[in-house]
C-alpha cells in the first residue's frame, strides 16, 4: 500500500487527574502555599524534603515534620537553553536538585540564572515563591530558586 494511502490523524489524550495528597504530602503543599518548606524526619534522623509518607530507604513511617529552607545548595544542575512548552520557566534556566538547609535529600525544581556560567554545584540558592494570591498548594507555588545574593 502506498504510504499516501495510510491514514494519520492528530490525537490528543487528556487525563483530568485529581490526586488525594495524604497527610505528609498535603502538609508540604500546604506549607508551600504559605511560602515555606517542611520536611519529614526519617531513619537516623535524616530529614527528607520533599517529604514522603515512608522513609525511602527503610520503608518505615516518617516522624515529625520540621521546617527547612528557604535557602539551600545545588547538588546537581542541568542547563536548558531551549525550554520546552511545559517547563516551569519559559526563558533559559537550569533544572537543579536543591538540598535545602536542614534537609538530607534534594528536591527537583528550576533555578533562574542569567546563564550557565553563573551556576555551579554547591552554589547557594534561595526560594522565590509566586505571589501569595496565585498559590494553590502545588509545586508551581515555588516559581523557582534563585542564586543567593540576587544574581538572577
Amino acid at each position: 500500500m502506498a504510504e499516501s494511502e495510510v491514514l494519520h490523524a492528530e490525537h490528543r489524550l487528556e487525563y483530568p487527574y485529581a490526586r488525594s495528597t495524604g497527610p505528609i504530602i498535603g502538609a508540604f503543599l500546604t506549607a508551600l502555599r504559605e511560602g515555606r518548606f517542611v520536611g519529614a524526619t526519617g531513619s537516623e534522623g535524616k530529614v527528607i524534603v520533599p517529604p514522603t509518607e515512608y522513609d525511602p530507604l527503610t520503608g518505615d513511617d516518617v516522624g515529625e515534620l520540621v521546617e527547612v529552607g528557604p535557602g539551600g545548595v545545588i547538588d546537581s544542575w542541568a542547563w536548558v537553553s531551549h525550554p520546552l512548552r511545559k517547563h516551569p520557566l519559559q526563558v533559559p534556566f537550569a533544572w537543579a536538585l536543591v538540598r535545602l538547609d536542614g534537609a538530607d535529600t534534594a528536591m527537583l525544581h528550576a533555578v533562574a540564572a542569567p546563564g550557565p556560567e553563573a551556576l555551579a554545584t554547591g552554589a547557594r540558592v534561595t526560594a522565590k515563591f509566586c505571589p501569595e494570591a496565585e498559590r494553590v498548594g502545588s509545586m508551581a507555588d515555588l516559581e523557582s530558586f534563585v542564586l543567593e545574593g540576587g544574581a538572577a
Binding site: 490525537h11 546537581s76 544542575w77 538540598r99 534534594a106
Partner: protein
C-alpha cells in the same frame, strides 16, 4: 527458585528476533509491526504458537496514547483457542523475567516473550514525565533529557567521568553498530568530532542521547527436551534478578546504581568470567554507572551490538540486550555474558540476566 536467585531449572534462550529499528514506522499499526517479528522468532526454531505454553509481553499504552494496546498486539500472535497470557507495563526484559519465574515453578516448558513500542507517535519528553513522582516531580514536566543531564553532571562533579568519556562511549557504540544491520544509528565518528556537537541540555551533547526508535523484539524460552531440540547450542539463563530504587530522585546518589549491584550479586555475575555485557544504558554516561555496578573490568566487551545508543526502541531495548547477548554466545563469540535492562528515570529500576553457553 533458590533464595539466591540463581537458576534451579535451566531455561534456554531458544530464539531471538527483532524488527528493523527505525526512527519512524509511518505505516504499520502495532500488530502489523510485530507480526513479522513473531513469525521470525518461531521460524528460527521451526515451531508455531501451539508449541509454547505461555505468552508474556511488555509495552506501555502511553506510547500509542490508547488503552489496551497490548491486547490489540495479541492479534500478531494469534490467541485462539485461548492461551495462557500475561503482560507487564515494563520493558520486555521484565516480561521475560515473569516467564522465567513460571519456568522455575515448573508451570511451563516453553514461552514466547515479546515487546513493542513506537516512540515516534508522541513527544517522549512529555510522555516519559508520567513515570515520575506524580506529586513533586511530574507537575513540573521535567523532561527525560534534563533528568539525565542532572545525573551526568553529578558524574562529572564526582570525578567519575568527563564529557570526553561520554563521547568515547557514543563513538564506540555507533561504530560497533556498523556490524549490526538492525541498528538505527551506525557510523564511525571519532570522539573529538562528536565533542563539537551542541548541548541538548548541558552537560549532555547530542551524541550522548539515544535515538528515538520504533521497534519490536521477541524471544522464545525453552526448558528440558524442548531446549535441546530447538537449539544445537542452547544458551542458558544461569542467574536472573531485578531490583529498584526509590522514586525520589533527590534521595538517590545518582552516580551509583545499588539496585544493579544487588541484582548482579543475586544473579551471580561475579561467579565466572564475563566475556561480553549488553548494557541498557540509553544515555552514554549511564554505561559507566552500570559497568561499575556489575563489577566489569576493562576486558569485557560492552555492547558489541551498538547498544541503546545505536537503537533505543522503548519497551524492547532491554529485551534486545538479552537477545543480543544470547546470539553472541550461540554464535560462539562468547561463553558467558551479562545482559542488563533498565526502566524508570535515571536508572531507577534494573534487571540483570546472566547467560552461559552449553
Amino acid at each position: 527458585m533458590s533464595a539466591a536467585g540463581r537458576t534451579v531449572r535451566p531455561v534456554s534462550i531458544a530464539s531471538f528476533a527483532q524488527s528493523q529499528n527505525v526512527r519512524k514506522d509511518n505505516e504499520r499499526n502495532e500488530a502489523e509491526g510485530l507480526q513479522p517479528v513473531i513469525a521470525e522468532v518461531f521460524a528460527n526454531v521451526g515451531i508455531t504458537k501451539d508449541d509454547v505454553d505461555f505468552i508474556c509481553s511488555g509495552s506501555t499504552d502511553y506510547l500509542i496514547g490508547g488503552p489496551f494496546s497490548f491486547v490489540m498486539a495479541l492479534d500478531a500472535v494469534g490467541v485462539w483457542p485461548p492461551r495462557a497470557e500475561s503482560h507487564v507495563e515494563m520493558d520486555g526484559a521484565w516480561a521475560l523475567y515473569e516467564a522465567w519465574v513460571l519456568f522455575q515453578e515448573g508451570e511451563i516448558d516453553a514461552a514466547l516473550v515479546y515487546a513493542f513500542g513506537r516512540s515516534s507517535l508522541g513527544d517522549l519528553n512529555e510522555i516519559l514525565t508520567l513515570q515520575l513522582d506524580p506529586y513533586y516531580e511530574a507537575p513540573l514536566w521535567p523532561d527525560i533529557v534534563s533528568l539525565n543531564a542532572l545525573q551526568a553532571r553529578a558524574m562529572i562533579d564526582a570525578g567519575k567521568a568527563t564529557e570526553a568519556d561520554f563521547a568515547a562511549i557514543a563513538s564506540r557504540s555507533r561504530r560497533d553498530a556498523l556490524s549490526n544491520p538492525k541498528a538505527q544509528v551506525r557510523h564511525d565518528v571519532a570522539p573529538d568530532v562528536l565533542l563539537e556537537d551542541d548541548y541538548v541540555v548541558a552537560p549532555l551533547r547530542r551524541h550522548a542521547l539515544p535515538p528515538i526508535t520504533d521497534g519490536a523484539a521477541a524471544i522464545v524460552l525453552a526448558a528440558g527436551d524442548k531446549a535441546l531440540q530447538w537449539s544445537e547450542r542452547p544458551v542458558w539463563i544461569t542467574g536472573f534478578d531485578h531490583r529498584m530504587e526509590t522514586h525520589s530522585l533527590g534521595a538517590r546518589d545518582l552516580t551509583v546504581s545499588p539496585s544493579t549491584a544487588k541484582a548482579a550479586e543475586v544473579a551471580g555475575v561475579a561467579d565466572g568470567n564475563v566475556d561480553i555485557a549488553e548494557i541498557h544504558a540509553p544515555f552514554a554516561h549511564q554505561e559507566l554507572i552500570i559497568a561499575e555496578a556489575l563489577g566489569l573490568d576493562d576486558s569485557v566487551a560492552v555492547n558489541p551490538s551498538g547498544g541503546p545508543l545505536a537503537a533505543n526502541p522503548l519497551m524492547s531495548a532491554g529485551l534486545i540486550r538479552i537477545g543480543e547477548a544470547a546470539s553472541r554466545i550461540r554464535a560462539g563469540q562468547a561463553d558467558r555474558a551479562v545482559a542488563h535492562a533498565t526502566s524508570g528515570p535515571c536508572l531507577q529500576q534494573n534487571l540483570v540476566c546472566v547467560l552461559e553457553g552449553a
